[in-house]
Amino acid sequence: MTNNQETLLKVEHLCQYFGATKAVDDVSFEVKKGEVFGLVGESGCGKTTTGRSIIKLYDITSGSIFFKGIRISAGILSYQEDIRKAKAEYNEKIATVTDPTEKNLLSQELKQRIAARKADIKRARFDQKNCDKQYSKQMVAAVNAKYRALLSRATEAEKPALKKEYSNELRKARKAKLVTQIQMIFQDPVASLDPRMTVREIISEGLIIRGERDKKVIDQKVYEMLELVGLVREHASRYPHEFSGGQKQRIGVARAIIMQPELIIADEPVSALDVSIQAQVINLLNDLRHSLGLTILFIAHDLSVVKYFSDRIGVMYFGKLVELATSDELFKHPMHPYTKSLLSAIPLPDPIYEKTRQRIVYKPLAEHDYSVDKPSLREVAPGHFVQCNDAEFAKYKAQLEQA
């Protein structure tokens, strides 16, 4: 279901540094509309940070994030570094040349390059700040066009109602934000719900912030969502502590989908739940995904669940995306040694197999020789990307052909 569909989310060379720590380092991937994209990796490998960068909880260090074709996030470090590099490069060159005209030429070139990068930086800063403003401008324009046309055609009797609706819609359009079409479901259902708010307040909070004021509409929507996630209307007036873990997670899901998001970032939504409840929540997400046409970025460390739920899977290791493939392909032909090690660690409900299971240990320094040839993410088979250098690329290709 992933082929020839529009790209909903595109992450390009995303870097997120916290001081000297490179939490996410040059990660690129695309999420197609309607698919579930799984991100796996051990704790601290940057998968959560990636999710949070996408939803703009952090200002990213470098790279760009495109959502529905619009750049919602952009970092500037790579441009700054390019300027620094260019300066060093050209200064060296200039020092070696003696001819004054050539010298002049070189410094001209340098100036041009710096100017181009500075323009890039300016654009990135602008996009980073103003993507929502641009979006709301578009929305306002659309609403204006629609209602002006309607008003011109309407009779005098219809006009007051229409005007009211118009002003309502206009207010919403002014407050519209592109990023609210990305919603998040968190790991811990207990910690992510405010204990002092009723379920109604929790679920409707986003709507109200977005400018919805009509109580009836809000209630209607809240009830709809509750029923969608398998709860009942009566639950709306209760507090979170009155629910079990699975029900709390359902409330978290309802809070996310009431905003009618196109993309949901599910950050370990089932890790904190019991097995039986886990299955309930996974089934719920699966149903919603089909009925609402959701796209989900599914972050988890339980590989059995990720395999079950995702169409494509990206494997992260220490801030880098090391392998990316459809989930069947990844589990059938894991290429990168880290993926192999990760797959060998999955416990299965089969005691006889478990007694003989050998875990493969991943030792990056022993596996790869990246001293000369630097690795990058390359496509070894259609849709199957692996982080490798030239020698490894040839090796992986040969392996795939054999299999």
Binding site: S43, S244, V275, I277, Q280, K307, Y308, P347, Y353, E354
Partner: protein, 716 residues
């Protein structure tokens, strides 16, 4: 196999503002040595409560309604708190789910690791001294009573013998103490030298002069006839050379290496038999022991001791033991008679408080008198009888007062509620259900205790006839010896540090010397859990309780930690109780599995039984609700939530969520049906009259798939 832990009919409730929550409702299991028992179930099924009960760390509002947890002959539910101190952490250790919350964030890892070692070391010393004095005194008394009843001169000779024992024990301690001081100095020095060499290599030596001087002092302290003797001069020379060239780190590290070599060689030497040596030096009149290699010397001294003293002393001790056992048997017979006589007091329809209390006094006295003072094994059933019995009596008479009050309150509240409902109001409060003390149960418990005591005494009397008193006498002397050396065995900070670093290496922490001085926040999740495991292992426990130790960790780390636990289990013959809800993990770890639901064990068997031939619908539901790598169809989620244990269901607790439930499931609780010798399940489906039901397709498919996969693997 040897049974380490035995849990029988354990019932635990919690007192809450809404009433009594029944957390554990009569569970039985046992744990063999070197075995892993997994307890599987949803949260709230009572699995953690069970483990906390075993460790005696239940919350304050818990009520232990009945049952017993037998460890090492003791009932952990009855023993007093200060006896529990010797078990908790020492014999039974626990690893918790969240490693961060079980470590103190503001104390360095090293101190947290060594804290228990040092504390336990001190208390062991104290205990050893008390034991030694007490037992030697009793032995002397019993010897006189057994052998020289009316013979004053013989009695004097026996007393002299005991005094001799004490005297040369004293010499033994003196020798051993000196040896220990020297040896621990040597091991401290070695550990320091390794540290300093490490830091010199890394070019980060701090307080160099002071520490090198300290090493010199330690090295010189280690000069002792039995530690560093032959090479003492070389050692002194090296130390002097080192101090002379202290400014030059190259010389220092060279000399340190030399000293280290000497000390390590010394540490590898065999320990002489100080016990025998003590006797030789005290009574032979010689000032020095013969000059021989240690093994030969040990043999010679041993023989000398045996001939001159030990054999006759053991013979006397044996006689004393036989006599003591006889006395105790006689007491036991009397006690049985008294117990049987007073049993009727507790059989009455309504117990009489005065009669009960006086009976308790008499019984406790009688039971305590049966204790064989020379028996080194403490019969805690006897020790705890009095307090345990008193608790039951108090419970009964408290219940007698409180039950009517509770009934009155309940009736009043219920009437109030009904009145409001009748008026058409809808009260926003609920009637707190009445919680009565089950007087019949308490009475039965009392009678059970008496019966058990009688059975226990009869067993002991029967066992006494074919008891090996020779072995017992040797064991007693060994016990005295062990306690005597326990007095001199001191755990200093340095020794504890060396031990902690060894432990850290054992659990797979790299660079333990550097890690020793770090704080918990500097460790990653997996490393923190390793530290917690190291702390749990520091006391060398028998039983390790792991309460979801890997739930907070990701797959690779989880795999490493599980491997670590499995390896330690094999190396140390640990018995493990493994609590989890992840069945994949269970398949890896468990020898046997108990599936718990709503405070009861619903299925119990080996891991093969549970995974390939499971019989309870709840086990089926658990197994089919988790996806594996080949699952494509919709998951079979268990509908609904576990029942509210304030109002436990009448029938099978799982009936409401069970698609296989029959009518009887809602009416009566199923008993444990036996499937095979190792496999039990509590479900009416196993009743001969029940309709035949197949496990869900998802499970059968998975088993078939697994078999197929394994077949492929075996062929390769």
């Amino acid at each position: 196999m040897e049974n380490k832990l035995h849990v029988k009919d354990l019932t635990i409730s919690f007192r809450t503002t809404n009433g009594k929550v029944q957390a554990v409702r009569g569970i039985d299991f046992d744990l063999a040595k070197g075995e892993t028992l997994a307890i599987v179930g949803e949260s709230g099924s009572g699995k953690s409560v069970t483990s906390k009960a075993i460790l005696g760390i239940l919350a304050g509002n818990s009520i232990i309604e009945g049952g017993e947890i037998i460890y090492d002959g003791k009932d952990l539910l009855k023993i007093p708190e200060d006896e529990f101190h010797k078990i908790r952490g020492d014999k039974i250790a626990m690893i918790f789910q969240d490693p961060m919350s079980s470590l103190n964030p503001i104390i360095k890892i090293g101190r947290q690791l060594t804290e228990a070692m040092i504390l336990k070391g001190k208390s062991r010393q104290r205990e050893s001294r008390e034991n030694f004095n007490k037992y030697l005194k009793t032995l002397n008394k019993r010897m006189i009573e057994a052998i020289a009843k009316d013979d004053a001169s013989k009695a004097a000779a026996l007393t002299a013998k005991c005094k001799d024992f004490d005297k040369f024990e004293y010499k033994h301690l003196e020798l051993e103490n000196a040896y220990n001081v020297a040896r621990s100095a040597a091991s401290e020095a070695v550990s320091d030298i390794v540290d300093i060499l490490f830091e010199i290599e890394k070019n980060a030596l701090k307080d160099g002069n002071y520490r090198i001087k300290n090493v010199k002092n330690l090295a010189l302290t280690s000069i002792n006839p039995w530690v560093v003797s032959v090479k003492a001069d070389a050692l002194r020379a090296s130390c002097a050379a080192m101090m002379a060239g202290i400014k030059d780190l190259k010389i220092v590290s060279e000399k340190l290496t030399k000293i280290n070599a000497i000390l390590e060689e010394a540490l590898a030497l065999e320990q002489p038999n100080f016990f025998a040596m003590g006797y030789y030096l005290t009574f032979s009149g010689e000032k020095e022991v013969p000059n021989k290699p240690v093994p030969e010397l040990n043999a010679y001294l041993r023989q000398y001791l045996d001939e001159k003293f030990m054999l006759s002393f053991i013979a006397d001790a044996k006689q004393a033991l036989v006599y003591s056992a006889k006395v105790s048997c006689k007491e036991m017979e009397e006690a049985i008679a008294v117990l049987k006589q007073y049993r009727s007091v507790f059989q009455a329809e309504k117990l009489d408080k005065k009669a009960c209390e006086s009976a308790h006094k008499i019984l406790s006295k009688k039971v305590i008198e049966t204790i064989d003072l020379l028996d080194i094994k403490k019969d805690s059933l006897v020790y705890t009888f009095s307090s345990g019995f008193k608790t039951e009596i108090d419970k009964y008479f408290n219940g007698l007062v409180k039950n009517p009050k509770e009934a009155k309150r309940f009736a009043k509240q219920q009437a109030d509620y009904d009145r409001r409902v009748a008026k058409g109001k809808e009260p926003d409060w609920k009637v707190v259900p009445a919680s009565y003390t089950d007087l019949e149960l308490v009475k039965r418990n009392m009678l059970n205790q008496i019966d058990r005591m009688v059975a226990h005494f009869e067993e002991l009397i029967a066992a006494n006839d074919n008891c090996d008193f020779d072995a017992k006498a040797v064991a007693l002397i060994d016990f005295l010896k062990a306690n005597a050396s326990g007095v001199v065995n001191k755990v200093t900070k340095r020794i504890a540090k060396a031990r902690a670093i060894k432990l850290m290496e054992e659990v797979g922490i790299s660079e333990p010397r550097k890690r020793y001085n770090q704080y918990p926040f500097e460790f990653s999740g997996g490393m923190r859990q390793r530290i917690v495991i190291a702390i749990a292992l520091a006391a060398d426990p028998d039983i390790l309780i792991c309460d979801e130790p890997t739930t907070a960790l990701d797959v690779t780390i989880q795999s490493q930690i599980l491997e670590l636990i499995n390896r330690l289990k094999a190396e140390r013959q640990l018995s493990i109780i493994f609590i989890t809800h992840d069945l994949g993990v269970v398949a890896n770890m468990a020898d046997r599995i108990a599936v718990m639901y709503a405070g009861k064990i619903v299925e119990y068997g080996t891991s093969e039984d549970i995974f390939y031939h499971s019989a309870h619908p709840y086990t089926w539901a658990l197994l089919s609700s988790m996806p594996d790598l080949d699952t494509n169809e919709k998951l079979d989620a268990i509908p609904g939530t576990p029942p509210d244990m304030l109002y436990p269901p009448v029938g099978d607790a799982f009936a409401q969520r069970n698609k296989y439930a029959m009518k009887i499931d809602f009416e009566r609780q199923p008993p444990m049906f036996k499937i095979t010798d190792t496999h039990y399940a509590a479900t009416w489906l196993l009743h001969p009259d029940a309709p035949k039901v197949e496990p869900p397709k998802a499970i059968l498919d998975r088993i078939a798939r697994m078999e197929e996969k394994r077949g492929v693997q075996n062929d390769q």
